[in-house]
Amino acid sequence: MPLDLYLNVAVGGILTGLVYGLMALGLSVIFGVVRVVNFAHGEMMTIAMYIAITLFTAFHLDPMVMLVPVAAVLFAFGYVLQTRLINPFITRPDTSQFLLLVAVAIIIVNVLLIAFGPDARSVQTTYAFDSFQVGPLIVDATKVYAGVATFIVAAALFAFFRFTLIGKAIRACADNYTGALVVGLDVKHLYALTFGIGTACVGAAGVMMVMIVDVTPTLGPAYTLLAFVIVITGGLGSMLGALAGGVLIGLTEAMAGLVFSPSAKSMFSFAVLVLVLLFRPQGILGKRAA
């Protein structure tokens, strides 16, 4: 096979991987601060996907235009979910939290199933088949837009956590829960904000994913798993790690799909996960826990 083909597939994989990375970033932020494993992460992405599809079919809104509004809706969803449901579970054991979010996931999947039916839906933008030619490479325009948007969202998030007061307060909660309480931070509110930011990330990723994949209500669990794989590969709690993990997994999937068979691609991302867990349990960019 010609080298061009490999390169093209690799670039496509990397760009898709960036969107994966944004999705995983949401999970990483939530786990890093709230210490809750969001087992309904992929399901939350499908919510965003269906909002995007509904708006697209009704008003022909471009997904890129919907990015911010949908992320805002998902933020509100995450905020309310954290304050109403998850906060009382913060001090409970992992299994309790896990079960709570599994219940949330089951409800989301099936409410979507009732509302939209089991058929796959997709969004056809006017530029769906456009592409850019860079030297020997032909790159899907959609994936380029998605990749660029991911960079912007991620950069905004980094800036938020580094430079704003609220961002710093959230990092303080993550570093030292008791300390944050002692200095008078409203931890519950900050946790809810963080959860909202996490779900907003996955919401933004979902809006971009509708241009790349067909959507069914049962897509959720697979993406939840994918997000876990990416976050652990990249390093739990590391924001850059989530993006890097996303790119690595996106690339792995694309190459596995090309060289072997698309249906076997998740096997290879799990193989990457197993290797990372065994030889670098803190993830590619994670810091080793003390």
Binding site: V37, L85, P88, R92, D94, T95, S96, F98, L99, L100, V102, A103, V104, A105, I106, I107, V109, N110, V111, L112, L113, I114, P118, P217, P221, L225, F228, V229, I232, L236, S261, S263, A264, S266, M267, F270, A271, L273, V274, L277, L278, P281
Partner: protein
């Protein structure tokens, strides 16, 4: 041995367990076909829940990939039967070692490299998913097209080849669940059991007290995986068809662990009670929705999710510890 098993069990507990067992033994005489399939499902989940509870409830190892052991058991026995005509009970002799070896492999990797907590859970998911996709592409077990066991009408129950009436499967599972309950009690009251609890509560403290943590965690995984694979063999011969997409799916793993968590983690009766509650709830919902003429896919699962939410919000320890106190069966702490 028997004295040690019964030590600390009140007469009341024994009477109630005995009564329950008698009711369950007599149940097929009165239950219709539908109720019998529901009871089979309950016992199936009770048995696997009990096996899973050894890892999570006793040793504190959260496995989210128990579908792997069910699937390996099911596929090993079914493939041996289809390809070589090896009966299920001999198949079991291969299925248990295969699943135990897989468990040992995962355990060895995880515990050697100190992969723990959430990481361990994800590792177990990863292996189950790995197997799912792998079996999808494995020609020997017919890949994603599914492996089918020959089905024919049998005039009599063939216990040796596990061909026959559902009642036969019911009694096999009832026996297995009863033995698992007794076995777990025995384990919990043995040296190994105390070591497990010590590791669950505080691994570092256990290690400094001289417990070989690696060894006892490995024992937990191997026993749990081997026990679970037996349920897989029964699954294969009861349903007669196996699809990797179904057998190894993450949702199967989650189904397995809901029962023990709802029933009460680490308790002996929790997995059994949890299986009754969840399967009962699920089937009741189906019946009610049918009666109401509601036929929208997903409605039942939404109710199921909401009920689950209510149970865990109201009873964080699980239902059994709460119920046990209510009916006056507080076990004396050893």
């Amino acid at each position: 041995m028997i004295a040690r098993l019964l030590d600390g069990v009140s007469r009341r507990t024994l009477l109630m367990l005995g009564a329950l067992l008698i009711v369950l033994i007599a149940a097929p005489l009165f239950a219709g076909d539908y109720l019998l399939t529901v009871l089979i499902l309950i016992l199936y989940f009770a048995y696997i829940g009990q096996s899973w509870n050894i890892m999570m409830g006793f040793a504190g190892l959260l496995s989210l990939g128990h579908a792997l052991y069910v699937g390996l058991g099911a596929y090993t026995a079914a493939a041996l039967y289809v390809h070589f005509g090896v009966g299920p009970w001999f198949g079991l002799l291969a299925a248990v070692p295969v699943a135990s070896l897989a468990g040992a492999f995962i355990g060895f990797l995880a515990f050697r490299f100190r992969v723990a907590g959430v990481y361990f859970a994800i590792l177990t998911i990863a292996f189950a998913e790995f197997a799912r996709v792998g079996f999808d592409h494995l020609g020997w077990t017919r890949g994603s097209a599914g492996l089918f066991l020959p089905v024919a009408q049998y005039a009599h129950n063939d216990l040796w080849n596990l061909r026959g009436h559902p009642a036969m499967f019911y009694y096999i599972l009832l026996a297995a669940t009863t033995l698992a309950l007794i076995g777990c009690r025995a384990l919990l009251r043995s040296r190994i059991g105390y070591f497990w609890l010590a590791i669950r509560e505080d691994e570092e403290a256990a290690r400094s007290a001289g417990i070989d943590v690696f060894r006892y965690k490995m024992i937990a995984v191997v026993i749990s995986a081997g026990m679970t694979s037996f349920a897989g063999v029964i699954y294969a011969f009861y349903y007669n068809n196996l699809f990797p997409e179904q057998v190894f799916h993450i949702l199967r793993s989650i189904e397995i662990i809901l029962g023990p968590i709802v029933g009460g983690l680490g308790t002996l009766f929790g997995p059994i009670l949890g299986a009754f509650i969840l399967t009962g709830l699920s089937e009741t919902l189906t019946a009610v929705l049918n009666a109401l003429g509601v036929d929208i896919p997903g409605v039942k699962q939404v109710f199921y999710g909401v009920c689950l939410l209510l149970v865990i919000t109201a009873l964080p320890e699980g239902v059994w510890p709460w119920l046990r106190a209510r009916i006056g069966l507080k076990e004396r702490q050893p």
